[in-house]
């Protein structure tokens, strides 16, 4: 078969301009934001010269640093809990056919289907009804719940792609269940677990809507703090924080790319 990329029959007019438009549309705002983060001027959108001073100002803002620490605490705890729960579920669901399986699958993917704002409202009302004080613990609980499906999907996909004969071979060679799991299943499963955990971590770190509803007064995370800043108005500080968050995202995508390469 000829390579479709080289075959002139598959050159459709108009595709290239559309793709150019798409990538321009996708990247223009990001490039503008990054450039303005290095702007010296007090006015956020009037360029007067290159400067990194806003980064210094932002990194010395105690409230912002505290919000960042909260975000890291929440994302780390929720990721560990969600990834553990998701790994167990993926192992339990693997290669099984049992009644109610579709229902369990639907339940695990429920946080992906229900709109965030509905989850936020329902969770808030639930905590209020239980008399649970709002704070970091309620944020962590809520994050754990919606991170489970994000961690679950890559782990499940990895398990589905594994060769069952390797496990059978290990058992033929007198490995018991525990040994088979530790020496055969787990080493193959790691890349799936890591990409699931990374996905959960970034989703938790970025979450705004659910956190906004279930965070108490002391539980300000980075997105909540940034939202407050944007509400007041555009400023060089917001440009700088945004650029930093953008850098973190790019590093994360690059890292997940590397994990993806190990997979193959």
């Amino acid at each position: 078969m000829t390579d479709p990329a080289k075959n002139p029959l598959f050159r459709f007019p108009g595709l290239k301009p559309a793709a150019w438009f798409f990538f321009l549309f996708l990247y223009a705002p990001i490039v503008v934001l990054l450039a303005l983060a290095f702007n010296d001027n007090q006015q956020a959108t009037i360029w007067t010269g290159f400067s990194t001073r806003w980064f210094g100002i932002v990194l010395n803002n105690d409230d912002l640093v505290r919000a960042f620490k909260n975000s890291i605490t929440v994302a780390t705890t929720a990721t560990l809990a969600a990834t553990l729960i998701a790994t167990l579920a993926a192992l339990g669901m693997n290669r099984a056919r049992f009644p109610g399986q579709d229902g369990i699958n639907a339940l695990i993917s429920l946080p992906l289907i229900v709109p965030e704002i509905v989850t936020a409202v329902a969770t808030l009302l639930f905590f209020i009804m239980l008399g649970f004080p709002l704070g970091l613990s309620t944020v962590i609980l809520a994050h754990t719940v919606f991170c489970i499906p994000f961690a679950y999907l890559p782990i499940r996909a990895r398990l589905e792609g594994m060769d069952p004969r390797l496990e059978e071979a290990a058992q033929d060679l007198y490995a018991d269940r525990r040994r088979t799991f530790l020496r055969v299943v787990l080493p193959q499963l790691w890349p799936g677990i890591i990409s699931g955990a990374m996905l959960a971590f970034i989703i938790s770190l970025d979450d705004f809507v659910i956190t906004y509803f279930v965070a108490g007064a002391g539980a300000t995370t980075l997105p909540i703090y940034i939202f407050g800043m944007i509400r007041i108005g555009i400023s060089p500080e917001v440009n700088a924080v945004s650029a930093l968050m953008l850098a973190v995202s790019i590093l994360f995508v690059a890292a997940s790319w590397l994990v993806g390469r190990i997979r193959r």
Binding site: A5, K6, L9, F10, P13, L15, K16, A18, A19, F21, F22, F23, F25, L26, A28, P29, V32, L36, T45, A86, L88, A89, L91, G92, M93, A96, D102, N105, I108, L110, P111, I113, V114, P115, E116, I117, V118, V121, A122, T123, L125, I128, M129, L141, T144, V145, I148, A157, E160, F208, V209, P223, F227, I230, V238, S242, M245, S249, I250, V253
Partner: protein
């Protein structure tokens, strides 16, 4: 037999934590919310737990006059329709740009394809607030788009488009673009291009081959993309809040205001139920048409 019971018991233990956690912290809260949507508003702003009323749902369409008679009030209905209209518009716009882009990507050599996917995923992983903030910088009065247009002499004054339904549509399209491109690309990437060659052999021209062969084969990806864009769009909160500036509301903002300034939890719960039911209907329509089992990996 004993081995089999051990096996299913082991499976049950593995699956139990996820079912319990999501069941208790997600499914139970949704049922509580459904119950609260049928309760009276408490005097202090909370909920009167021992009441039953359909008032929150009536409030969606009517308001009570001084003499307790119901008057039609279309304010909320307008917000609901604006949300649906914006979600449909965003889906169509992302499809119009996303379909040709995905086809372009699928027709690139493999190395470049991987690079392009990488480029599509970066904004996808970037914080939602940051992405919307970038558009405030571009769209606001004397923002960058104004500066460029005025600098080029195309306009003499700012456009004043920030804080309008237009800027929400731009923000939503920007936010959800990758959600359309990625699934459509995934369905086109696996495509057997010999089928298109066969269409040419049978006398089809480019347009016909595209419409009768490529498009039907891309349909599962297009449908998945539409659902991935439409559902979160309908419940959007951040984009209308930041780019609509409180003037042009969507359901998400209306729900939030019931838990903030308005302090009317039952009405907020009823609005959330309306949103949830709309989303589940869209989801069921999709599953009924494109997949047999729900949630299968």
């Amino acid at each position: 037999m004993a081995r089999q019971t051990g096996e299913s018991g082991r499976r049950a233990l593995l699956i139990a934590p996820s079912v319990l956690v999501i069941g208790f912290f997600m499914l139970v809260p949704v049922f509580i919310m459904a119950a609260i949507s049928f309760m009276e508003r408490g005097s202090g702003g909370g909920v009167n737990w021992n009441s039953f009323t359909t008032e929150p749902y009536l409030q969606f369409l009517f308001e009570r006059d001084l003499d307790d008679s119901l008057l039609l009030n279309t304010d909320y209905l307008q917000i609901f329709f604006r949300s649906i209209w914006l979600a449909v518009l965003t889906t169509l716009l992302t499809l119009a740009v996303g379909l040709p882009t995905a086809l372009y990507m699928a027709l690139q050599p493999e190395r470049r394809r991987n690079l392009l996917i990488f480029l599509v995923t970066i904004p996808f992983w970037t914080n939602l607030l940051v992405r919307n903030y970038a558009w405030i910088l571009l769209l606001r009065n004397n923002g960058l788009i104004d500066q460029v247009l005025i600098g080029l002499g195309l306009r003499s004054e700012p456009m004043g488009v920030l804080y309008s339904t237009f800027s929400i549509a731009v923000g939503l399209t920007y936010t959800f673009m990758p959600f359309m491109v990625l699934p459509v690309y995934a369905s086109l990437e696996k495509m057997d291009w010999r089928l298109v060659e066969a269409a040419y052999d049978l006398g089809a021209n480019r347009w016909r081959a595209l419409r009768r062969v490529v498009l039907p084969l891309a349909m599962p990806g297009i449908a998945a993309g539409c659902i991935l864009v439409f559902i979160p769009c309908l419940g959007a909160f951040v984009t209308p809040e930041l780019l609509g500036g409180g003037k042009s509301l969507m359901i998400g903002n209306l729900i939030q205001s019931q838990f903030g300034a308005a302090r009317n939890w039952p009405f907020g719960a009823a609005l959330s139920m309306a949103l949830l039911v709309s989303v589940l209907l869209a989801m069921m329509l999709y599953l009924w048409r494109y997949r047999r089992a729900p949630g299968g990996a």
